[in-house]
Symmetry: D3
Subunit: 337 residues, 6 copies
């Protein structure tokens, strides 16, 4: 696998963490998390640009790119308390969805089998198939659940004559057996897609999809708590898929298919924090950040913070599990310093 | 009346619904809703551009423009379960407010008298006068109430030496007798306009205006419930006017006179849904979407979804009224599929 | 001090209020509030542009620039019920932080000693040092507390080899003795800065910093109420520092170092209102509005409204203190008109 | 007439020149040039925004707004060597083309009758009718010629059912007798409008229109020289109308109806310089600068420089006429300093 | 083939010309030109977005979309004097370059075999292969020459592991035998690609490439005249490929791989005019207009005018060939009207 | 000296060339050119943002960042045929002009004394003083001439109370004796600054400034040839200073003080090529690229190409001097391949 950075801009790592090479397992031996880019946007049904997502997510931060980010809220440094490496980008030709997906899955799987958490920077959501399958294949079959933040179910069947595209990965994932349909938790859906036939297919798979109306009426926290219980039932770990369009377009304009009425940035960050603190994470992706449609980098910055929030919460989870402690969200910032 | 699409871009219909001709009543016989554009922005006191609102609202959607939009939340298809047609645009010369308003009122009235709901795509808010009057004139006098979402009261008297402009339509409407002042419900007002004299005039008309402070302190749901009761008291139907600037500029930057501190997009969509589900709608307008100031089309997309939310809720209302059922907002998406 | 307006655009005043000259105390005798610009952005660690903040904040309003702004919510006119003047800008050379800070502090102090409230339009947050110190020096030592809205603590020590910059003013303020560390209230912090050593220094100063997690879990209102009690304990007045990046980037994209997950514009406006209504204000600043990164002027408009909200609440506070009345946020807009 | 600055932003003058009041002739007694804004864009057939032209043209300059601009090339100061005043804006309601045109013509005429050159900042090109007629009426009938830079002939007849709009002023001007058709020189036309019938009408009026093809093949200098000869034949002075869209969209994107293939900014500036240096100017307008579509203010800056180039050349013309000297464009900048 | 308009926006035709169906030859019997969109951008090596090129090129015009465009310069109406139809878009999945190219070539060939000129709206330049081959296959082998405007030679061999992409179509074309290498004329090349090995391959094919340095030093007109002679030597017709990035980024910012130092918009328009007036056109494409990177639509407008210039010149060529006349570029616009 | 990349984004080199460390002379032993960034914009009098110039100039290219750029026109690879290294950025605090200039001059001088050509990426034009002085000090006194492309003379005396700023470096340079006034060649000046007193000072220094009017009337080539002769008279090498605002704002919008009427991008590239091919270069800077005001990166791309053009011409000059050959600009691209 070739490093792809030089194509879509310079070769750099996520906020300056150390590099590794996905073809050289020794280079990431002992890593807790390996970040890898999937600069593919050939699967978008509307506005492209997510190919520049990895480049943008890696650098959208005003602080020094020094491989350190101490979280004010969680009191850990996700980039230092964990061993986080960056493997660069998978070479993806957006004109070749099949070849790109194969290359991505291979790379993700190479990471996951070492026990490291693959953290994929998309790219459009087509990459969810290789991301989650490459991860799940490294674990006991049927014991990886999915938590999926998105405005869209992404369970379409055929689009533009193809099985693969950014509206279909979740169907392919379930069909492939990589993820059980009844351990597939979707959060933030809204709008006018998919049509009833697809919803019926989803119901038939016993998926659990929280549309925004239910979230507004029941409360996001209650929905999450319920979802977590399902996710852990007969499963050992989760794959977390964050499509940035789960947020309202006011918070995340730089994306391909924005749908009004979504979560706030605050809600997304808090949800990701809860997931990575309360649940065992096997893999994760942040997708659909499309810089050509962004303004003042606010969508890229949000995506960057989603990654950091996950890493911080994973680090805090490890610390608390080891120490028998528990994080208190109500503790004042300067208390016990 | 000439189709106006070719002037401000190509001739297209709202998400691909069928066309009709406002001068040929047979062409929209049996329609439930007739969409019509009012590309007028000569009445704006500050940033223009709302003339491109109809064009933007019709096409700001990433899904196929196929005349179908099944609502995930409401389980109906507002474009198919209702008969929705698009009559194109009224020819509006922005340099001639009087002529434009007359042409708009005539067109709206032709639609309303057939029993169809006119759904007007503005244009600046000056068009509220012909929109609501053209609608109300088709019904029993004094029995149409108004629910008006806006950052501004739009009850000014004379501006730039004229009676008509985007800050004055609500005064003209009440003066004309088309809408009773005491059945005029305003939601979302804030900021520094109008001045006390105008507020006194409004109080004298017994209008009911919910400023954002009251909404924040009492809760939007409680305010809406109270407003609905007033709206139905001695009235048979409502006209719904949605000025997109009722939303916070973060959610709707593309408008002429943005005022910080407004509703979220989610709140607006949920409110429109409640109105069109719980109340009998006589007519509706979505105004003040100004594409030159929009970013990544997020304001146009929000306006498009306001229209769809209204149509979906109308369809669901009809279905539930017919079947004696009731929509449950807490029902999971995939339940009973 | 030279008027600086002509450098960064035309010479104009905040929404058309009258001018005064900071070197001619007679020109602002009897003023309640004197607005002054600090067009300095040499201290920004990342995106510059805040030098254009004063120009943008003064004019970002679609209403006539006529020196009058009657608040719908508070039923006072902050620009007319108070005597508000605009002293123009302090001449600031962004390449010379030391000289600029000295000039700003001198100007602010000249205003504060007359008993008028200096209201500074930044500029980057470096100016907090001269703004707050110039104000506090005009009052009894140790009796001015600080309420500081920001995503960042701004308590760094040395950056780029210098003591002064937009990440350090709060440390310098406390070190200078102008503001007591234990009367320093910070609201809205989040993200990944500063590092633990600085947090320990802050704890050592007995600062009270409300990170967003605490705010979300306890509620903003409860946090504010608690903070107000601290602010008034052994202090007579407060200095209010509003860094616009306390808001989420969706609401305030036009700033130098945006941090996702912040307050909504509505929350900021309501908070500023409470502070200026419930507490005695000695001085105030609105900083870090960076027009080059703004879209459709929404950040500048928010900053403009923060200023107006403060002025309106001060006017209402004075009125209610004088009349023994109390403002009711639940009162309908048209009630008692 | 009311000053209009406060509506579309703050009240300021062109680069800081002194103010005058068009209703108080004494205030501009002895003026050589009186600048006046015509913030009307109700006549645009496509993208609006030119209402903000006067505000943008007055301030689009990075130098101090100090009422002085020494021209490097012409060695005069157009703002100081001439007496240039700014009368503010005519109150224009874009929804009322008839009223706006009447108000503009009255104001322009008041200026022209004093012998001062009215220099109008548009606004869309609809204002050419009152601008040129208000000017010509102050001079001997039939002895004012027109030099008109534009991508479009603006000689349409009826549009949107009206006689007045930005595509028709030149026909109205000729019909009114204010300008002789055979002394109407158009430079820069191109594209696909107007249709042959209108061209025939133009030919019938014996207008002389230089389409870009002729300009490219013969050379701009030769065309100008030929045009100047016509302009002075039986005429005593000229009115210069500059529609910024005469320039290529690459040089002037911020306009309503950009047409590819136009002049460079350099060519326009040099042409305006020649006209104002070689010919006696009676009046001038710069129109169709539409800030909402501008980028980095480059179109507004170009318009600002067109005004300055005209003033500089007028000043140099006066100086050379008085001194019997002649400007040499090949003289090195520092020669004879 | 499915109409694709509804996917990337509404279904519309080029400036309102009539529709036809590429699968129904009867629908375009007798057509002179058939416009067809190729919304594919999976082959771009850097910035995507050209998939929206067809939609943008069809509507980027401020005049009525009425199927008529009388050219001022050429005195013909390219949309009416020729029979021009629009076949909509070929369904292209950007994730599948092979399938997309096959579908495009089939559609182009169906048009070309009827004798109509296929005029393809790209899409990225990958489509040149099916565009030119689909055209050439309809004519006698080896007798179609190519005139190719571009900043880049597009003669790469393998990129991202694939034969097809926007940097390689010209090599594939020559290899396929569709176009003779020694009748391949390239105009406007510049910059730093391709590398010497590829240039040697090109030289080996006896291609003739005019780099900008040669064009600047010899003059564009002389280069064109020379190229025309080569193009007609042993060939009967030409295919014209216009990559919008042949223009300088100042004139065409909205493209994927802009290269400074290119032609002006005026030069491109004049060149296209000469080609279509002086040479027999077999087919044409306008590619690499990428709306996400455009500003104020100036690149899309330029592309739209390139199409119109070609159509106008073809119409004038036919007229002059029929009448034995010759167009005179120096003739004044209103002469002989 | 600290590498500064991590502050204003990630740490990368110019198009992927190798790194060196300015404090470790061994790291750049044998280098022909050492690139170094000067991210300082505290000296700008108007729009800031040039601090991001080095980051933008290094990466604004769509080709692989592989340290190779074979020039089509010059048939050399400027990055490979010369030994070009990148020393990262000088740590510059924009709030401290004095400290920043000292650090820059030290770094530039360390490079120049080794015989390598320092190539500085600005930053605002304030850095010309340390750039040119640091270079000239490494050579025999009084034998380095200056060729300066700019819209502005940059010979002001005191601004904002300081000697250093982006309008004054050229006066400081001459005063310092680093560059002789009579070997100071300025190209592209225009507009309304500086005032006559400064022009007189310039004339007194016997500077030679080519204002755009002279350039247009005499031709750029003739002016350059004349300037070259002066530059080489009694001097051994030149320093080339390119302020990107020498180009017209249409070609270079992303800059602080754009002045309409400038060179085209093509003219600038060709001029830089001639200079670096015909003259011995001692040092060079590219300044005033301000990304916050850029669109679609076109200004950054132009600046990147200015650097490459210089390097390519230097490489070709060396080759031709060595081989006794001479480059022919009229040679066809594929000739002799």
């Amino acid at each position: 696998m070739t490093r792809y950075g030089p194509m879509y801009g310079p070769d750099l790592t996520f906020l300056g963490v150390e590099r590794c090479d996905v073809n050289d397992p020794a280079s990431f031996a002992g890593a807790d998390v390996v970040i890898i880019g999937a600069p593919f946007d050939g699967g978008t049904s509307h506005r492209p640009g997510a190919r520049f997502g990895p480049m943008a997510l890696r650098q959208a931060c005003y602080l020094p790119h020094d491989g350190s980010r101490p979280s004010l809220a969680l009191r850990v440094d996700g980039l230092k308390d964990l061993r986080v490496l960056d493997a660069g980008d998978v070479e993806c030709y957006s004109g070749d969805v099949d070849g790109s997906l194969a290359a991505i899955e291979d790379a993700v799987h190479r990471i996951a089998v070492t026990g490291a958490v693959p953290l994929i920077l998309g790219g459009d959501h087509t990459v969810a198939l290789p991301d989650a399958r490459g991860t799940a294949r490294a674990h006991e079959p049927g014991r990886t659940s999915m938590i999926h933040f998105d405005a869209h179910a992404d369970t379409g069947d055929i689009a533009f004559g193809h099985l693969h595209g950014h509206g279909q990965p979740m169907r392919r994932l379930i069909e492939s057996g990589a993820i059980r349909g009844d351990r597939f938790l979707q959060i933030g859906l809204r709008g006018y897609w998919p049509e009833p036939e697809t919803l019926e297919w989803m119901a038939g798979q016993r998926m659990r999809s929280y549309e925004m109306t239910e979230i507004v009426h029941r409360g996001l926290e209650e929905c999450l708590t319920e979802a977590f219980a399902i996710a852990l039932d007969e499963c050992d770990q989760i794959f977390l898929s964050v499509d940035i369009d789960v947020c309202d377009p006011g918070h995340a304009p730089g994306t391909g298919t924005p749908e009004p009425g979504g979560l706030t940035a605050r809600q997304l960050l808090d949800s990701v924090r809860r997931i990575c603190y309360e649940l065992p994470l096997a893999g994760m992706e942040v997708v659909e950040v499309a810089p050509p449609y962004d303004h003042a980098d606010i969508t890229a910055m949000l995506g960057n913070r989603v990654v950091l929030e996950a890493l911080s919460a994973m680090a805090r989870r490890r610390k608390d599990l080891a120490g028998g402690t528990r994080w208190d969200p109500r503790q004042p910032l300067l208390d016990d310093r």
